[in-house]
Amino acid sequence: MCFEKLSTMALLSLPRNRRCSFGALLSSRTIPLKRYWSESDDTSKEIRNQVRERGQCWEIYYEDFGASTVLQQQLNLEQLKTIGRELAMGSQGGWGLSKEYLDLVKSIGEARSKAEEDRIVLHEIETLKRRITEPDVPKRKMKEFIIRLVYIEMLGHDASFGYIHAVKMTHDDSLLLKRTGYLAVTLFLNEDHELIMLIVNTIQKDLKSDNYLVVCAALTAVCKLINEETIPAVLPQVVELLGHGKEAVRKKAVMALHRFHQRAPPAVAHLVSSFRKKLCDNDPGVMGASLCPLYDLVSADPSSLKDLIISFVSILKQVAEHRLPKSYDYHNMPAPFIQIRLLKILALLGSGDKHASENMYTVLSDIFRKCDSSSNIGNSILYECVCCVSSIYPNSKLLEAAAEVTSRFLKGESHNLKYMGIDALGRLIKINPDIAEEHQLAVIDCLEGGRCREEFMGTKLIAKDADPDDTLKRKTFELLYKMTKSSNVEVIVDRMIDYMISITDNHYKTEIASRCVELAEQFAPSNQWFIQTMNKVFEHAGDLVNVKVAHNLMRLIAEGFGEDDEGADSQLRSSAVESYLRIIGEPKLPSLFLQVICWVLGEYGTADGKFSASYIAGKLCDVAEAYSNDNAVKAYAVTAIMKVFAFEIAAGRRIELLPECQSLIDELSASHSTDLQQRAYEMQAILELDVHAVECIMPMDASCEDIEVDKSLSFLNSYVQQSMENGAQPYIPEHERSGMFNIGSFRSEDHRETSSHALKFEAYELPKPSVAPKSLPVPHSSSTELVPVPEPTYVQEVHQAASLPPVSDAGAAELKLRLEGVQKKWGRPTYSSPSPSASSSSSSSQKPVNGVTHQNGLGNLSSQSRDTSYNSKKSQVDPEKQKLAASLFGGSSSKTEKRPSSSHKTPKPSSSSTIDKSHGTTAKVPNADPASQKASQPPPPDLLDLGESTVSESIPAPDPFKQLEGLMESGQVSSNDNHTAATTNPIDLMGLYSNTPTTGSSGNILDLAAANTGDMNLLSEFSNPVSKNTETRSTSTALPPTKKGPNPQDSLEKDAVARQVGVTPSGKNPNLFRDLFG
């Protein structure tokens, strides 16, 4: 027929989902769905396709030629009929609905664009808003309004203005209206909605109604609308309904109770016996319904229902033997859903229980034998049997039967069956891995996407290879994943990677990438292969791969494969280096991959002597240049360059800085990113050191070395002793100090200059380092005098408040305000603590005995922070200490670095070590540099103990402003020396953060984090790879934004309010804190 040819052409040239004119659409919408199914799958597909092509062709034809006469000729009788019907609907208001409603639906259907549809709906909303509130709306009208509201909401628009009317409608006596009301309410409201309270009463009443349909409607609503709190209100009535005369009601009551169980198990815990009782209900439907809660109970705790196994088995037997009334049959299959549910329950009950399983064997083999495998539903039962057999205690005969069913599935034409077959195979191979072998071809077939398919309708419409079935493919990969052994890992992973490259779905890409990584790590036949595989994964899915994976890779390269074979390890490394040098030039590599590359090149690039330092450095410079907007990559690159040169220096070779390196350093030292700046300065500093110092700070290949930390700070004992003798006060732990105390000292320091209107806490000046030694006793005692507010939360709030600029200052430039706030935040941990240990430590005369390392850590931390203007307070990095530290223990400083990570519950040394090394090495710089020492301040214990909040709290601080000034002046000058491990910063912060919340000082930490937002990237970038840390990191990264946003205004407002109420801002603001914290 010429029409068909035409349509074929049109079909080929048109996108699949092209919009057609409404006329065409309408008529296609009247195609009876019935034509799309029939008993047998094949014919149904054929018919389906025929009809579909017809419909589409017809639409297209209609649209393209607009010739209705031609069209009419093509219409078969049925289509004419349906069009007539449609016209009839439109004109006479078909289903008893008003013309308005029909017009609405129709015009929305006719809308040609989303915008047009929105316009229509918005107009409708306006109309409804107006009319629904009119007095005396007839009920029938109101019902229609409600239905229109539901319709609108289904289209994605807000109909909340009408919720209350839907609620009102549930109160109506008329069944029709009540049901409409309940329908609308269940669609509109969630169980925590405030309007629910208005419905509970109605529901209670309706549950007692003598009209069983009202009861059913109420039960439907109960399922959706009752939450934990309201369960008790309706529970008695629902339980009563278990004995209702109508089986439909009993059934629904059981399911409503099941729902309660899902929502709040304790609330219905006493009803388990009723569920059991309902299993013996006269009506099979009710029995079937009771299987749902029983299934949940079994999956929660199989042992509790073991005694029911016999009952389940006998029920299953009876059902399978067609003992139920005919009305429970579905496609000649007796009560299939009940069978499936029972099989699922049995699978759980029999798992690992030989005795229990033995009871099931007979019935299972019966089902295998009898079940009709030609129908869909029969297959679903068979599949369920396979699952059951693979879950219970194995029985060889049953396994055989299961394997046979599985192979039938796999050989089937239908993709659905293949899917089930693959899934079943995946279950069976757990018991018997050999089963998979005979199905190799079928599996491969599923992977390839099947053969070319025949087209229907005689004409070959689309002659192309069958589209691969994505779902099937994924399922197959899942199977392969389970099947992977070291013998087939190469093939499977290669396949997976190919597939990964071909798909665009990020979610699945991520999953499959991580599976590749996992398999590769587990089964890698050779190092070479492993690295190549990882390279591929990173190259194509680098941005999707978990950061952990990258860290793992670095660790693996650093540690080798665990054998004590140094040769193999170094071979692995050099092959990694080579492959990276090859890849590095490719454009558009994912950031994470580049980071790995940079790290490896920095660490091992020159290790085997094949490549010269300047060659590697040049490559790294290229990377930094090419990805100039990716700070993380740049940071990795510059650190890597530093390492490369450091190794050169340590090896006694002269280094020549390439011009591009020099320009990179110059560029970075003026960077906006404090981290980059710091790294650049560190590098410059390190390049000027002598051989010995460099060797100490940057030992070759030490990334895996464990770093020990002296947690008790015993090395400080003599120092503390000395200070005490000199009159310093002993340290008072956080919990012994009152919250007020902190506030006091804090305010006095920060606000002294800026604001005078607040309470003056002059008395607390003590903690200022310079003053400290003299005024020691004051702060503590006085603090107690103030209203003590012991709860930790309070303290936090206070800090929050304090960090705000005073209201009077509000007029000042915002930038400035914020800066102040931040500074305070930064300062807090330090100066808020007046403890003597602080004061003592701040003195430049300090002489750490054994704990030099820690002091280094301190120095690093503070020095790094100084890059940022925000951080500037801390930046007076106690150069004295640095010097001290450096001279005392040059190389060991890396221990400090390790510290933070270890403070989170002793991580596995190996996992953290890789990263630590990078930090560690950088961190060493300052120690070795004696020149940078100056007199001042931040006490070492502080930094040391960032990990432990208590300690950090207690640290005294130098006057922040002074420090700031100092920074401004000297910062640039001395920066070379002082800029140290920026990397440490994030980590330390993390450690700090992670620990503090427990001690109640999290507010403080938050502040830090916020102040550090500029460095957030870093945080995530460098935060320790230890698994523990991931958690921490995510929280901390998440926090700052919340904080940043609302903070200034909100808190200002609250501050003001507080003032009005007559309270000092610093004292209150619990709300503020809560807001910030979410």
Binding site: L33, K251, A466, Y508
Partner: protein
């Protein structure tokens, strides 16, 4: 349990959306859109199953069936059987067909309250309630009959009286 039932046409317009856990309307729309995006890209001859983890969160599968201009979509978790769900869709559509005599998209558009009624008789609170379409039909007809009766008794007099008072 069954998490959601959706009916949408081949243009991606929702015709029925029922979620057995509450979701805000915006989220529902988003889900419908993403489901449609997946379905419309699936070729004809493939399986009716989709792993929907990326849309509905972990442990969720999706089964759909394409009839004429409509997609029928059921979303559920691992406590249900995919093939059985496919048959449940069939039950649903067969019932609709009995309800409307050659059901087509327009019937569903204009009668979606009735569709909800039918669905509520098949799936209740996320669990399969009834799989026999004739049983469902009986229940639905009973509801229709009683609704009419209650209309006759209560609605008419009330509307008349309100009309009289005006």
């Amino acid at each position: 349990m069954i998490r959601a039932v959706m009916v949408m046409n081949t243009q991606g317009k929702p015709r029925l959306a029922k979620f057995y856990h509450y979701l805000p309307p915006e989220k529902q729309q988003e889900l419908i859109r993403s489901v449609f995006a997946v379905l419309s890209n699936r070729p004809d001859n493939v399986s009716d199953f989709v792993e929907a983890d990326s849309i509905f969160g972990p442990d969720s599968r999706l089964v759909y069936k394409h009839y004429a201009t409509l997609y029928f979509v059921f979303v559920f978790d691992s406590s249900e059987n995919e093939l059985a769900m496919l048959d449940l869709i069939q039950v649903f559509v067969e019932t609709l067909d009995k309800c409307f005599k050659n059901v087509c998209e327009l019937d569903i558009v204009f009668n979606f309250t009735k569709i909800h009624t039918v669905l509520d008789e098949i799936v209740f609170g996320g669990q399969v309630l009834e799989t026999s379409s004739s049983e469902v039909m009986k229940a639905v007809e009973e509801i229709a009959r009683l609704e009419k009766a209650s209309n006759a008794i209560t609605l008419v007099p009330k509307s008349v009286s309100s009309w009289q008072t005006r």
